[in-house]
């Protein structure tokens, strides 16, 4: 066999391997989506969304309390993480000297990579031990997870703001903070929103941080954040450990709802990003 031919075959083989790997990655997602949909679709009904969890041992019931609780938790978490994240990004891209910006950047990236259960137990030690589980503890844990995501996304879009805009504003004698508030933020609001939506989608599905902070909850609709708030991820986790097959099906259905939300949110974020990219490119 000539050397040329061998190289050709090798090239072809590696190409096929890479394609197969890509297909496997897509197939995993497809199998997860399909199996959750197949097992969960049967339990999705109007009652499933509007009724709270059934009392222990009783049939029926839904996930209304968990839906409300997750919405509240994520809302609170966003309210904490969004301002801190955006301000962090503004500091890093607009104000920080390089010898500070680099280590802060490293730390934010490390925070983003920490196991979420560690963050959960950190907040547990901070806010729950000696008190009780509460919605605000859960929201705080979720906020810690959202913070680096929002900061990173905001930073990326701040860096996309054309230098000419900044320079034009400064040339008019506008002060730096005024430039940030009046020129840079309005230009990048689309990208910040995208990052926030993605962070919300991520936080809505996080189980580990809530396990220690907001997992022992009532099966009625709960809006008091000083008490543990019912939430979808922990509901799925606890139902899946129960022996009752009806609860298993509800867990699948809740997983389907959560997955649909995350999928829609991601698509929405993609569309938002494309839109703000186009605007920035003009």
């Amino acid at each position: 066999m000539s050397r040329d031919r061998r190289r050709r075959i090798m090239n072809r083989a590696m190409e096929v391997l890479a394609t197969v790997a890509a297909l496997v990655a897509v197939a995993v997602l497809a199998i997860v989506v399909l199996s959750v949909a197949r097992r969960g679709a049967g339990a999705v009904s109007w009652d499933f969304f509007t009724k709270p969890q059934a009392l222990f041992g009783q049939p029926g019931g839904g996930i209304a309390n968990a839906l409300v609780g997750t919405a509240l938790l994520v809302l609170l978490a966003t309210a904490i993480a969004l301002p801190v994240g955006v301000l962090t990004a503004i500091y890093l891209t607009e104000f920080a000297p390089r010898r500070l910006a680099v280590p802060i950047q490293v730390m934010i990236d490390v925070l983003a990579g920490l196991p979420t259960i560690v963050i959960g137990i950190f907040v547990y030690a901070l806010l729950v031990v000696g008190h009780t589980q509460s919605g605000y503890a859960g929201a705080f844990a979720l906020a810690v997870i959202m913070l680096p995501l929002i900061a990173r996304a905001t930073q990326e879009v701040l860096l996309l703001v054309p230098a000419t805009l900044r320079e034009a504003s400064l040339a008019l004698g506008v002060r730096r903070w005024r430039t940030v508030v009046g020129v840079i933020l309005p230009t990048s609001v689309g990208g910040i929103l995208t990052g926030t939506v993605l962070a919300v989608a991520r936080a809505a599905g996080e189980t580990a941080p809530l396990l220690f902070t907001s997992s022992i909850f009532a099966n009625t609709v709960q809006t008091d954040v000083t008490k543990a708030l019912p939430n979808i991820p922990v509901l799925i986790f606890t139902y899946s450990e129960q022996p009752d097959p009806a609860l298993h099906q509800q867990a699948w259905a809740a997983a389907l709802v959560l997955m649909a939300f995350v999928l829609l949110a991601s698509l929405f974020a993609k569309a938002l990003l494309a839109r703000s990219r186009r605007k920035l490119a003009r």
């Binding site: 890093l92 891209t93 607009e94 920080a96 390089r98 910006a101 680099v102 950047q105 490293v106 990236d109 490390v110 990579g113 920490l114 196991p115 979420t116 259960i117 560690v118 137990i121 950190f122 030690a125 031990v129 990173r152 930073q155 990326e156 860096l159 189980t207 580990a208 396990l211 220690f212 997992s215 022992i216 991820p233 986790f237 899946s240 450990e241």
Partner: protein, 93 residues
């Protein structure tokens, strides 16, 4: 870069709590077989969520988390060092 991705991936897997807890079964025996129930650092913490009764129990959970934290920080720092060799500023101006 691929090394950084690998390290980050391993870091994610070591710290993954819920997905592992649901299938690992929770066992305390240490053995070479992959088939009996077992536990990872993260799954042990997650499966104790019903609340730690005593102070010692709480401390033990926090100790497990501390080990995970150190592993996580080390893995992420190494990955950062590798990434920064290619892109020293990475986001900062």
């Amino acid at each position: 870069m691929a090394a950084a991705a690998l390290i980050l991936g391993v870091g994610r897997a070591v710290g993954e709590a819920i997905a592992v807890t649901q299938v690992i079964g929770g066992g305390t025996r240490i053995g070479w077989s992959l088939f009996p129930p077992a536990d990872t650092l993260a799954s042990k913490i997650a499966s104790s969520y019903q609340g730690a009764g005593s102070g010692l129990e709480t401390s033990s959970l926090l100790y497990l988390a501390a080990i995970l934290l150190v592993l996580g920080v080390i893995a992420n720092l190494i990955a950062q060092v590798i990434v920064r060799r290619f892109d020293p500023l990475r986001g900062a101006r």
